[in-house]
Symmetry: C2
């Protein structure tokens, strides 16, 4: 039988072998005493199997409260566990309950982080995965051979549909490839979804008629299932090509339902991610997280950005980008979306560390607040990326581009954002 | 304009006032520099408002990594923030994105936990809330004047539909009120949902015909949207009265869609909860969490149990029970579900600390592994609860009940579970 595999970082005051056995037991038989019916044969067929234990460092203090046993040292280890697909089939929510579920509650552990997952080849038959991914998103936006340059409608909240549409016009004239709603903006009374769509989409059409360039607009459809599907359909009818969804707030089944419609690219925003990831020994790492969303069919997923305004260190962002670019089950292409405090100055380091242009590079303030206006902001981003790919530093690029020089003056220097 | 209010525990190396201002700013305008269009008038109308700051203790070490500023002390504070409903309307996922969202990513914070939420009265018009809650679940189960006694099918994984149905027969004869699937068991190849339903439901019907007592069975419908709705409908057709769903794995919109069907009670399992809650200064506290699910319409929600097998301390469990029992928007009744290592010995402390019998009290091994068999297990639970409500200690109760005596011998003494 094929198996699903999960890799964990654990921390425990007891032996890592016993802790791993508890973890595996909780997610198979799942009660605190042996029960009738739990035969050896049944156990063997359905029990989670510990595949590998790699001891790591020990720490003096438990990372999380709640261990019954108090130790002088808390051992960390990487533990690989597997389950037969007989246990769960292709039921994605139940797979999540199996690989995470009650494990974070165990008193034998003072830390647990799900690092990675692997799924069997047969999943290809059930999960269509991202319908667009990297090549599809590029085709929709008409952009090849460079990162897609995008922005977010700001201020996040408060613009009327008409003001938003005017801003889209400005951004179109500035040469943007991609625009998204903010995650705080979906369907509020002051700017209802349909009114925004009806105001924005004609601007995009007119611009495409005039220039041949069709901007990808990710309309935030996040909402209840029926509302999301209705808004999705409205985007289809209006000739749009992309919707956005807050992955954690909408949840796995709602997002998959949306992706399953298959007519539009789905832009996955991971707001709420810090709650799941910021602690070093609690929650889930991005390589595991993004695989779940790729199975669900998300085409584009946020990974933060190099030298971002948030807490996430660069090496973590780089690992996230690499995780997205690694094929899964031989495909399931997903486009990493960089954002947070980006203005172009980070292009050099981003390219140096990832060696890819398969990115959707979002700048909000970095474009909107450019001293020459949004057009200057977009141009500065293009110049920064061309220079980065050519191996030039930001300083070299700045000598050749007045817009980039002004970006540096306003937003930072040598790639560092001023607070 | 009505406002949505969120109460946070924050921890910061900077002044709590500045940290709170950053938090509020991130969830209103949301970029790292001021942008055109962000007028004072717009800010005033849509900005998150800091309602109250209550400084708490300081700690020497940051609870989470990633603060840009290093301090000698990290100040904790309770901060209350509000948003106009103009920002979000009744869009539940976007409300979640607004009150949580990127906040956990802020470098100005070394800790953030969402403690509580409050919603405006007008939400009553949009959110039907739990259709059954405490009175409805009692009516479905035909149980008044005592806690509902329930159990979980164990072993969690591996039983065939026929074996499961046989076990249901045994549990019925034992006098159980409620049975639920395990969260690891939904629709696997070895025990497909429909086959389980078709095997189990006749046993429940036959028992009801014979005795007049209709057992509430919570079928785990967790799965993709269409599958959940199909399974839900099958339960309706088969004459069932309850479905179960893994809240975190299925996600908010899928769960709400299910609750909106309105024909069956929805049993909410919170597996994955430890990831969101175990850290003292990261994630979300149960009072906030359960309100979101009440808005979605969940009728029964897990709260762990006193002296449980997991890490959660008793005072936290007590707070969770109290949170469920507190009316929300004047109603939205939800039944707290106690489980994890329960066998009856905890009844006395549970009642003493909560003074309620509005509980669904689940025991897995505590019933199935009872020395006299499940019937003895259920009888022991009844005796334990009767004694608890009468103010008798477990020792007093044990003198009057041989079944309870044997539970104590097997599972613990004085309410403590043997490891």
């Amino acid at each position: 039988m094929e198996r699903i595999t999960a890799t964990y970082l654990i921390e425990t005051p007891i032996s890592v072998e016993r802790a791993a056995a508890t973890l595996a037991g909780e997610q198979s038989s799942g009660t605190f005493v042996s029960v009738p019916g739990e035969s050896e044969k049944l156990k063997q067929r359905f029990a989670a199997r510990i595949e590998q234990i790699t001891p790591l460092e020990t720490v003096r203090q438990p990372s999380l409260p709640g261990c019954r046993v108090r130790g002088n040292a808390y051992q960390r280890a990487e533990v690989i566990v597997s389950w037969s697909i007989e246990n769960v089939g292709t039921n994605l929510p139940t797979i999540v309950s199996t690989v995470q579920g009650n494990l974070y509650e165990l008193t034998q552990l003072s830390g647990l982080k799900l690092l990675d997952l692997s799924f069997p080849d047969s999943f290809i038959e059930h999960f269509a995965g991202p319908r667009w991914g990297i090549p599809g998103t590029r085709k929709l936006a008409g952009v090849e051979n460079r990162p897609l340059i995008g922005t977010i409608i700001k201020p996040s909240v408060g613009l009327t549909p008409r003001q938003t549409a005017e801003l889209v016009g400005v951004l179109a004239d500035a040469g943007i490839d991609f625009i998204k709603d903010d995650e705080l903006m979906a369907d509020p009374p002051h700017a209802p979804f349909e009114a925004r769509l009806q105001a924005i989409q004609p601007v995009i059409h007119d611009y495409a008629e005039r220039t041949g360039k069709r901007i990808l607009y990710a309309y935030n459809v996040s909402g209840e299932i029926d509302t999301m599907l209705r808004h999705y359909e409205q985007v289809v009818v209006a000739g749009g090509s992309c919707v956005m969804v807050s992955l954690n707030s909408v949840g796995l089944t709602g997002v998959k339902k949306l992706c399953d419609q298959g007519a539009l690219a789905v832009h996955g925003h991971r707001n709420g991610w810090g709650m799941l990831n910021r602690h070093p020994v609690l929650g889930i790492e991005f390589p595991a997280y993004q695989k779940i969303w790729r199975l669900a069919g998300v085409d584009q997923i946020h990974v933060n950005g190099i030298q971002n305004k948030f807490w996430e260190p660069d090496d973590s962002v780089v690992r996230s980008i690499q995780a997205c670019l690694k094929p899964m089950l031989g495909g399931y292409s997903i486009l990493p979306v960089l954002s947070s405090g980006q203005w172009g100055g980070q292009a050099y380091e981003t390219y140096r560390q990832t060696q890819t242009i398969d990115l959707l590079y979002l700048a909000g303030g970095g474009i909107m607040a450019h001293p020459d206006g949004p057009e200057g902001g977009v141009r500065a981003l293009h110049r920064a990326w061309e220079a980065a790919v050519a191996g030039k530093t930001i300083e070299e690029a700045a000598r050749e581009s007045p817009e980039l020089r002004r970006s540096i003056e306003k937003f930072g220097s040598s790639g560092k954002v001023k607070a």
